[in-house]
């Protein structure tokens, strides 16, 4: 079971959280100028990283805030968890 550190509330059981998947997916500003492939890429294509991965979690049974977690998807070890506004290069939208 994961022990997740909510940046607002501290460490809590995984059961208090819900998962929000890959972080840094930015909604295209002008969908109407995209090709079907580009729009499909935004909607469906995912990194699905094996290794260190930045993902979103929501403290849904707690403070209900969204935040970011850096986690190894093989060992499940959580490396870091932080708010969206941390000025951090990791935190920028990525593709």
């Amino acid at each position: 079971m994961l022990l997740i550190n909510c940046p607002w509330c501290g460490e809590r059981d995984e059961t208090e959280f819900s998962y929000g998947g890959e972080a840094g997916i930015v909604r295209p500003e002008n969908p109407e100028i995209l090709s079907d492939e580009e729009w499909g890429d935004y909607l469906f294509m995912r990194k699905n990283t094996k290794g260190v991965f930045t993902e979103q979690w929501n403290h849904s049974s707690g403070c209900r805030q969204w935040f970011l977690v850096k986690r190894d998807t093989v060992t499940y070890k959580i490396i870091d968890s932080y708010k969206f506004d941390r000025s951090d290069s990791e935190n920028k939208g990525s593709k």
């Binding site: 998962y19 094996k50 499940y76």
Partner: protein, 417 residues
Amino acid sequence: MKNKYSALSLIKNAFTNNKNWKPAIKNAEPKKSYDAIIVGGGGHGLATAFYLAKNHGIKNIAVVEKGWIGGGNTARNTTIVRSNYLWTEASLLYEKSLKLWEGLSREINFNVMFSQRGVYNLGHTLQDMRDIERRVSANRLNGIDAEVVNAEQIKKEIPYINTSSSARYPILGASLQKRAGVARHDAVAWGFARAASDLGVDIIQQCEVTDIIKSNNQIHGIETSKGRIESNKVGLVVAGHASVLAAMANLRLPLESHPLQAYVSEPLKPVLDTVVMSNAVHGYISQSDKGELVIGAGIDPYIGYGQKGSFCTIEHCMQAIMELFPYFSRVRMLRQWGGIVDVSPDACPIISKTPINGLYLNCGWGTGGFKATPGSGWVFAHTLANDEPHQLNAPFSLERFSTGALIDEHGAAAVAH
């Protein structure tokens, strides 16, 4: 067959103390090049190699497996086989597979212990029952056996199930597919491997693919832990690792790999002679020939390549089983494990050509591909051999994620396995 199994061969070998059995599978080392390479020695990869050799006359084939054959999801799953999906595209694909299951032990001369003991998909609410009516009607229009049964009929067939109306989630009825059932997962991998090996397919174990070689949008082969192997046709059939392998060819996939766990109890005397699944309380159960209860539920929510999941998922699943079978409350659980399932946005597989010539994908089976093993191999072999999908797998293309022609089986097919 070099080593045909039969009642007579059993008797003959008994007289020589079973010392004269030949190895069932030739363990091959890689040759320099092949007409086709299948990456991934799970059931789907091995079935693909078998049907390529048998139906399409391609004999110079390698199956490249990083661990041992059938060590992935194939030998980690709870073996439910059925074809009662909602949409025509999906139900025809799974039904093709079910028909192949019905003759499989004979076809590959290996007892896969396919047992058509029936599968019940329970309904607990009025809306569940409406969905069941709709799915059963759709199945019948597609020529697939299906019926709706009520709580009384369920109780009669499954005496230990709790059909009391005072249950928290009362059972109102179910869909029943009588031709559905279970099979022996290891036997499926071994049987296809042996049959393919007999047709000259090289089965190369302990050989990890580390890169995909291509130039000018054409595949030329793979790099492996046993060196470079050339081929201008490569099929990726690696389940939870599909995104990792696709990335080697700079291809992005609409998949997320999740842990999916299963659980087995201590052996009991026969108590359950069918398969029971419930989407609403989210659990399913059958009993193995050894007497163990085989139990499973949903994926762990996060991306995970660790072949393990969280304890809260186990707890949730046990609660669901207790809701259905309070009688099992004191049964002790013996073993638990996880696999890595490649979940797609529409809960349907990708069996497809790719934008790269000579690269083919068979993935996205997620939590429910065991039932499709023979059918998946059959259509994928066709796709590789002809460089064109069969009409059964044409709708399962990678392009559907840009055209929008998804085949949404999420809620429709009851519990996803």
